[in-house]
């Protein structure tokens, strides 16, 4: 495929991807069976006495009760919630999923809790390890492929030995 054609195809695919992101963003709140941070912020009473799943950042933790902040799309605080019956160990700065019936006074008795990140340090661990993963994949890729600026792309780095085992060009 000529470089100009690849640029056109790539641009079309990225435009379609942007469209997919728009559709996903426009329909997610309706399709997700639980309140999002934005919905909770707009009308907290709408979900009273309903069984909901919420994601929140732990602010305080004492015995089996935690206070969490649920965030909206802008990562601002959409709601503060006191959750009781939390049977897992978690520290302030951690991230949890809580599932239970939402009461009118912004409290919940958790039926089930999943600790996503036990503490702020667990989030840091995840990001550092993920960065290592990205670097590993990119390094391995660069070991086998090389940039070819004049063709606006990458081509195999190895010689003909490996190429000959792959059969005819498939486009």
């Amino acid at each position: 495929m000529r470089p100009a054609v690849r640029v056109v195809v790539g641009t079309l695919l990225l435009t379609t991807l942007a469209g997919l992101c728009v559709h996903y963003g426009a329909t997610y709140d309706e399709r997700w069976p639980h309140p999002t941070g934005d919905q909770l912020q707009d009308d907290p009473g709408q979900f009273t006495d309903q069984q909901v799943l919420l994601f929140g950042e732990v602010q305080t933790a004492a015995e089996d009760t935690i206070v969490i902040h649920v965030h909206d799309d802008a990562d601002d605080i959409a709601a503060e919630l006191e959750v009781t019956n939390v049977d897992k160990s978690v520290e302030p700065g951690g991230m949890v999923q809580v599932y239970g019936v939402l009461d009118s006074d912004q409290t919940m008795t958790a039926e089930k809790t999943v600790v996503v990140n036990r503490s702020d340090g667990a989030s840091t661990y995840k990001y550092v390890v993920s960065l290592a993963g990205a670097l590993l994949a990119i390094s391995y890729f660069c070991k086998h492929w090389q940039p070819l600026p004049q063709k606006l792309g990458f081509e195999p780095r190895t010689g003909r030995t490996e190429r000959d085992t792959e059969g005819p060009n498939d486009g």
């Binding site: 999943v114 993963g133 490996e162």
Partner: protein, 160 residues
């Protein structure tokens, strides 16, 4: 999501083992599959710019999380395939396979309501039951995957 290193090591192990069976599946395609395993987590660009910021700039609803779905990775794999100068269809296949391995592993993680995320979008919004096998920050997942990937590496290097 599990951490990204787990996904990359899982793709390495999976496609390296497959390369023992198929002669045409060479190291360069294992590398492409490992890049594919990164694709769903491109939604983490949201750490740099939030959906709300993008929405205010574009004037329409927008969610980067669409990239962590079947539809999102199909399009991303297509973009990745045309970044190569040749063998676009094979590159698309391996990018998609790597990304699919990522989505399947993510489909096993814990949700408090017992159903996985909406990764089957846009085919369906159905959330399949999840076995709640792990949470993303659990180092055990990485240790197990690391042992498997390390074993594959050593087996190939010294026994094959």
């Amino acid at each position: 999501m599990a951490d990204l290193l787990t996904h990359v090591l899982a793709a390495y192990a999976l496609f390296t083992v497959a390369s023992w069976r198929f002669e045409w599946l060479t190291k360069r395609w294992v590398a492409i599959a490992m890049i594919g395993a990164l694709l769903p987590d491109l939604n983490r660009l949201g750490l740099l710019v939030t959906d709300a910021t993008l929405e205010s700039v574009l004037g329409v609803p927008f969610s980067l999380d669409a990239m962590q779905t079947i539809g999102g990775v199909c399009l991303l794999a297509g973009v990745g395939a045309v970044v190569l100068t040749e063998r676009h269809r094979r590159a698309f296949g391996f990018l998609l396979a790597g990304a699919f391995s990522h989505l399947v592993i993510d489909g096993l993680k814990a949700y408090a309501d017992g159903a996985a995320g909406t990764w089957l979008y846009p085919i369906t919004w159905y959330r399949h039951p999840t076995p709640n096998l792990y949470v993303s920050s659990d180092p055990t997942v990485l240790v197990i995957t690391g042992i498997i990937a390390g074993s594959v590496f050593l087996y190939e290097r010294y026994w094959l």
